[in-house]
Symmetry: C2
Subunit: 201 residues, 2 copies
């Protein structure tokens, strides 16, 4: 099987959520897996001086409208902006990184559960207990997931994941790398699809 | 005929150029005209604190790659980043606004000629003589076009055009408004197309 697609994302990223709902089916059409690579946009934004999209004058107002409209356009049900936004996403990111070591088969399921908890059910997954509960709904041991959030080895794994994201050139979420070619944003899924089909142009 | 599509753009915007090559055919499929609305991104960026895309760390490097890749993806031949970029675009913007008063039938042709001069032929259209020469290639009187750039009434028309852009919520280029609904970016042409087809979703 060819190399997986790298999907760099922050759990607080609305366009990351929308793309996460589409990327696996897209990858599967081309015989690829998805490598989920959680990162913290706050760390990345220090490199670029960027601010959270929704906090920028004019652009913020537009982006809220566009996020909801894009969700409907792409047939992603239930999207709504969370009542607290943006949030810190260490807790869900660490749970995913922990699962990738301990039980990789669960990672994808938990990525989707965390994202949907935040963007559909308005659960504040920045809260470690909430993030552990969401993982538990997928069949993960809640106490072990909760402990992983405070585990020094897992904390270190998230630091490394951020460093890898920056090294890959990620400056936003989602940031998708296919065989070394970078694509930023939900908007580029059409190009990702053609790149997988043709190997480039 | 229903209302035209408002196409807000800066002549120094690569994604504005790419979208300008597609928007008229898209509009025509739905029986619409395009209202070309030149603006100055520098004025708009003061509202949002934004910087030119290519000057942002990480994002700048990616965007240059993405612009060329997106041009090829959309079948737009000859695109290359100009040797001087970004540029001030008062000269071509004023020529277009002057034509919209004096000879509206020429405006669209001159928009395309200015954009292609800059992004395909690497002509610095910030230079008033160059911008007038490009217009002349379309059959416009060169001396009159050159004079229009320094005409106080036309200067005022550009100020008003910027104000209208900001009032419409434009914070980037291209910014497309269809029956009051705003769409930012070349990336949203698919949504513009469906919006024109369905009236919204």
């Amino acid at each position: 099987m060819p190399a997986p697609i790298d999907f760099y994302f922050d759990f607080s990223s609305p366009y990351g959520f929308l793309a996460s709902e589409k990327i696996e089916a897209l990858a599967a059409r081309h015989g690829r897996d998805v490598s989920w690579r959680p990162m913290l946009l706050g760390v990345v934004f220090k490199q670029t001086g960027a601010a959270p999209l929704t906090q920028i004058p004019l652009k913020g107002e537009y982006s809220r409208r566009d996020m909801a409209r894009s969700a409907r356009f792409h047939g992603i049900d239930g999207f709504r902006m969370p009542s607290t936004f943006p949030i810190a996403t260490q807790a869900p990111a660490r749970i995913v990184l922990w699962l990738q070591i301990k039980d990789p088969s669960m990672a994808s399921k938990v990525v989707h559960a965390q994202y949907r908890a935040f963007f559909v059910d308005d659960i504040d997954i920045s809260n470690p207990d909430n993030a552990a509960s969401v993982a538990a709904r997928c069949g993960v041991d809640a106490a072990a997931a909760r402990a992983a959030i405070d585990d020094l080895e897992i904390k270190d794994a998230l630091k490394k994941s951020n460093e890898q994201a920056i090294a890959a050139g990620a400056f936003g979420s989602p940031f998708i790398v296919v065989d070394g070619e970078p694509f930023w944003g939900m908007d580029r899924l059409d190009q990702v699809d053609r790149w997988l089909e043709t190997g480039g142009w």
